[in-house]
Symmetry: C2
């Protein structure tokens, strides 16, 4: 298995699907912050994993996985993350959408 694919447990668990369009502004600052947020997320209670892809046109999808909605919501409220979210809204994302969903089935090859 490729290690970019998250190793999640048997459902149910929660995913937060974050779809975004980058502005292209301040790419170095963005990349550093994204890396730091990945590290910080991985230390949160209830974290199960994350998957992320962004294409050459700046369109990206990040799916993070959590044991339950409370864990996902707690991560949204972590202070450093809240700061990153504010910078995202003001500077880095031309558009975005967040969807919180309960995974009911999972399969692969």
């Amino acid at each position: 298995m490729d290690d970019r694919i998250a190793q999640t447990p048997a459902p149910p668990y929660v995913t937060v699907v974050f779809t975004s369009v980058r502005t292209g502004r301040d790419d170095a600052g963005y990349d550093a912050m994204a890396l730091e947020m990945d590290r910080l997320a991985a230390r949160q209670p209830g974290y199960l994993g994350v998957e992320s892809a962004r294409d050459a046109e700046g369109f990206g999808i990040t799916a993070s996985y959590w044991t339950d909605e409370a864990a996902a919501k707690a991560w949204k409220g972590v202070a450093e993350h809240a700061g990153a979210q504010r910078l995202g809204r003001e500077r880095w994302y031309a558009a975005y959408r967040v969807r919180v969903a309960t995974v009911t089935r999972e399969y692969g090859p």
Copy 2:
């Protein structure tokens, strides 16, 4: 709003999150099939939209949106799509994971 972000209705609805790693084999055939599958999916009952991003290293996430699980499951079984899935397993994907989830909350800027 960027038109690469799906315009979905108020939750609940269903998302199928397909995470995959491309082999890099037969890229022209893959791109043509992916486009055809997008067109075909958009004509299925219960289809709400799709978002897709693949990075330069061949790692991709596609989130398709459906009114309910039955609609998502029906699309999985459509004959042309089943043929594409077989080619995907045999030729195009080094690894993949499919997660079916019920969206409970959605928000944006």
